[in-house]
Amino acid sequence: MAIGRFAGTAGEWLRGAGPEADIVISTRIRLARNVDGFPFQTRANPEQRRELADLLQGALKEVLTKERPLYVDVEKALDLDRQFLVERHLISRDLAGGEGPRGVVVTPPEDVSVMINEEDHVRLQVLHTGYQVRDTWKRADALDDALQERLPPAFSSRLGYLTACPTNVGTGLRVSVMVHLPALVITKHIEKVFYAMSKINLAVRGLYGEGTQAASDFFQISNQVTLGKTEEEILKTLESVLPEVVRYEREARQSLQRDNPSRLEDRVWRAYGVLAHARTITSEEALEKLSALRLGVNLGLVGGVDIQAVNELFILTQPAHLQKLRKDELEPAARDVARAEYLRERLKGKTK
């Protein structure tokens, strides 16, 4: 399958090069749209869903001609490939686990992915590295315009873009910024961030994880309200707090370095030690240790390991990715061994 060529690399958004990239991993804009004249998913019969998939796939290929997009038919894809796309943030768990005609259009740098026949007919996503709210929105807005010219959306002047779930009605816009806040977690100040966000109707969610795994040091901050505010106002709400979160995390990092530098260094180097030498490692432990290593690299405590490599390892050490790299289906215990091997390959002897 064509997506196989993605294994061993990660999307552009993990480049770790954007503004505030030491703390803000990525900025994502999602637009929920439905094609006028069709029922929503719950009431669409298989023929209608097939027709929608064909119409949307055709229109999106025109809209994204220059980007040479790839279409993945999720209905026909193998379970492992579906999981692979979820791990890369290209499709949702809901699309992976759904049924009937459905798919995703992806550009090769993985900055644009459009899910077809998820909860809404269209879930257009633009994902950029670092803190880039404006550029990400501009791209999504332009793609949305181009798609609407080909397929008019379900829209009402009163309620805006009509969505299957009324929680998305209006702009259908969700802006999410993924942040890495290890110092706020260590210093136990993270709850204050949650509290401040909830005050202005922003949601904070823990990110990553397989099953019951506890949340990591990664969080996604996003707007909740989609109706009654313009896109500009929604972007501004996020922009009003994000610099504060970044500053707060920086201060927490500085205080860790100032108050107990050897303890911080020990934490970082122990993490590196485990990652570069373990013989078996669960995804939970890998995630925890990679988070500490990422902090160490960003603070200049560990040299020789580049931040893009660390960012990519978060994705490449997840179950479907490991199995794709090893070209074999692996049981959990075997995956832990494969994960440790892969981490050693990528990290051992790299530090200065």
Binding site: F40, Q41, Q213
Partner: protein, 164 residues
């Protein structure tokens, strides 16, 4: 650090805000307990009926399906939306307007879209506004010049466009 309200052991990392007609409730639980309750944090999807259950006490399937009129376009009943949390077609927003609007207002704090409008409608809107402005100006001129026949004609054109 807040401790999980369910197991009272793990740190609470999942924070839910439940908005019901009467109150806003908050719950803080750990990832493990959240998972047991079917709340997934990874892709942020709630149980299928989570939203519907907030609108009103969950009706039985039979009750739900029989209660109220169905949407003439897709045939869905309001009870089915309540049970599943998903609407059947865009027309449901019109068909269930009375019952949906209070819910929408609770979630968003608003019932009027102020954001982006599809380009086609933007252009139509501009054309329409330009035409209205022209007709109003011509009407005023006609009245000023006492051309009443012309004024009546212009008034009718304005009325046809939904203007008083």
């Amino acid at each position: 650090m807040i401790v999980c309200e369910v197991c009272k052991k793990q740190p609470a990392t999942v924070h839910l805000t439940e908005i019901t007609p009467d109150a806003r409730k908050e719950a803080h639980i750990c990832a493990r307990c959240a998972d047991k309750k079917g709340i997934h944090t990874g892709s942020a999807s709630l149980p299928a009926n989570f939203l519907g259950s907030l609108v009103a006490p969950e009706p039985t399937a039979e009750e739900g399906a029989s209660r109220g009129a169905a949407c003439p376009k897709c045939g869905i009943h309001f009870g089915e939306f309540r049970a599943a949390g998903r609407l059947g077609c865009p027309n449901d927003y019109t068909a269930f307007r009375k019952r949906l609007l209070p819910f929408i207002e609770r979630v968003h704090g608003a019932v009027q879209h102020t954001g982006k409008v599809p380009r086609r409608l933007r252009e139509e809107g501009t054309e329409r506004n330009e035409r209205l402005a022209r007709l109003r100006r011509e009407l005023k001129e006609a009245v000023d010049r006492e051309e009443f026949e012309r004024a009546v004609q212009l008034r009718d054109e304005l009325r046809a466009m939904g203007e008083a």
